[in-house]
């Protein structure tokens, strides 16, 4: 059971037993309908038990699940005819960030997103989805193309954070992110942001400014990783569970804080249990929001995008 989470395992074991019983019965031509029914009911119970009251730390684990669909998976499952484009024209091509031109249903959209790797080899190439400045600059180059040609933008957010390294700092990680925020706020085309997995800090926000921000049910989005918060404020990285609770990082939390616009429901157990179904929900939500946004003039879009951002935050006036 490699690659599965501890709290998923009882359910997976039960599901495996159901499958075994079914194929055994089929091969022996025995009627086990009653027993199957009993086990299915038990599985449903267990599913409700486990996923009905996930802690924020468990949600974090689902958001980081090694089997969770990534940006490229969604692009493929959404049936996008996708041409990937490369490079920031300044330094290099960052494979932690992908982007390109997509024919999505009747629409022509520019898609950018963080890209994690599925195995060690790919993760080295993708830097675990942690982009360097050239990744953010590539994303902005492509989004500016969308702006120039009036194509809507879809971004997929899925990163532990922007990469903290020597080269990243030398080449202006902070400036790259800041400039993306600056420019995304005024691009004259619809932008729909979908947080599909990990929304890690400024590295997530760097492609996360939009007219609509959607979040998958078991995605997380936070100002700093639970581990980072724990090591700074709780002086112990092992207290990440506590930090995850304190920071309130789930889709439900963010909906309550007015930071996101919609929670995209996931199949029971998470997107990795039924990726196609997760992708259908994502595709439906994106298309619906794009339809709304396409009815607005560029001026209205930009004005409302700014107003949306200005409303962010809680304070009192005395």
């Amino acid at each position: 059971m490699a690659g599965w989470l501890e709290f998923e395992k009882p359910l997976l074991e039960l599901e495996q037993r159901i499958d075994e019983l079914r194929s055994f019965a089929d091969s022996q031509n025995i009627d086990v309908a009653k027993e199957l029914h009993r086990l299915e009911a038990k599985a449903e119970d267990l599913r409700r038990q486990i996923y009905g009251k996930l802690t924020r730390w468990q949600v974090t684990q689902i958001a980081r699940h090694p089997r969770r669909p990534y940006t490229a998976d969604y692009i493929r499952m959404l049936g996008v005819d996708f041409t990937e484009l490369h490079g920031d024209r300044r330094f290099g091509d960052d494979e932690a960030m992908v982007g390109g031109l997509g024919f999505f249903g009747d629409r022509k959209v520019v898609i950018v997103g963080h890209q994690k790797g599925r195995d060690t080899k790919e993760n080295i190439r993708r830097n675990f989805g942690m982009a360097h400045p050239e990744g953010y600059r590539k994303a902005l180059r492509l989004m500016s193309l969308a702006g120039k040609f009036g194509r809507p933008i879809i971004t997929f957010v899925d990163t532990p954070g922007a990469y903290p390294g020597i080269g990243a700092e030398e080449r202006g990680q902070a400036e790259a992110i800041a400039y993306n925020l600056h420019e995304m706020s005024r691009l004259p085309v619809p932008i729909v942001v979908v947080v599909i997995g990990e929304g890690g800090s400024g590295g997530a926000l760097g492609i996360g400014v939009g007219d609509r921000v959607l979040m998958l049910e078991y995605a997380i989005y936070s100002v700093i990783s639970p581990e980072g918060c724990a090591s700074i404020l709780f002086r112990d990285a092992a207290r990440a569970q506590q930090a995850a609770e304190a920071m309130k990082i789930t889709a439900n939390d963010l909906m309550g804080l007015g930071v996101i616009d919609e929670i995209v429901p996931e199949p029971a157990g998470g997107a990795h249990r039924d990726p196609e179904r997760a992708a259908r929900a994502v595709g439906e939500a994106i298309a619906r929001h794009l339809s709304d946004l396409e009815a607005m003039s560029p001026e209205e879009l930009v004005r409302k995008r700014l107003a949306r951002l200005m409303a962010m935050g809680e304070f009192k006036e005395v």
Binding site: I177, E183, I224, G228, A246, M247, M312
Partner: protein, 301 residues
Amino acid sequence: MKDQLSWLRRRKRGIKEAKKREMPDGLWRKCEGCSEIIYHKELERNLWTCSKCNYHFRISAAQYRDVLTDDGSFVELLTGIESVDPLGFVDSKKYADRLVAAKKKTGHNSAVLTGSARVGGHLAMMAILDFAFLGGSMGSVMGEKIARLTRMAIEERVPLITLSSTGGARMQEGILSLMQMAKTSAMLAKLDDEGLLHVAIQAHPTTGGVTASFASLGDVIVAEPGALIGFAGPRVIQQTIKQDLPDGFQRAEFLLDHGMIDMVVHRKELKNAVVKVIDFFTDDRRGTAEDTLGQARKQGL
């Protein structure tokens, strides 16, 4: 006139408090750069820099105000915006308690001092971060104050000056802090659309979410010598890459070498450098402190 007097009184009090904080051990202070023992009068004359090794002592927002603005011209604005505790956040202490302690320690109610001032005769809007207030961290209040101040710069058609000294986003406000990066950057894009100037000053330290938003969005970026400037802190980077960091890494001079900032300027030259930039980019010129106060009154602030 009454307004002006009470404001002057407040200002004097601010200076006195600042001195008290900076001089806990009486008349002498040891330089953290070269260990030289410096007489406080000399330190003050040198704007809290060491004349031997150029070390720049950390100073308060009120002291930076005095370094940067024309005498008596600063009018504090947006004073009534205060933090709440949106998440009910508790780590080793309650966030609510941390806020109370920070207010008591600094005598201010937020981590950013905002106002209008004359700088070399030019009217400008100015935001100065206060590291003493929870590490100059950016939460909802800082984001709101900077966004509103930027809007005021647009309304008055004057330059915006920001001075950063911060550890980054305020974790205790969670995702709302992160969103302030987008909020401030978006309003600066508006300032840009309006053809107005933003001079960003980066003092020690300028890191995290503030660097990845307004502090890096100056039309001209000026840093103080030796200031630590970066996205990730050096400790996080070291833990990630597990190797030694190069000499001078993430210091102002390093950023200058790598093309990330326009100039590194000694604190004694800081105001002149800013004035020169404003002189170049603006055609309007000059006025008096009274105009500043009149402007503020007109806005009912």
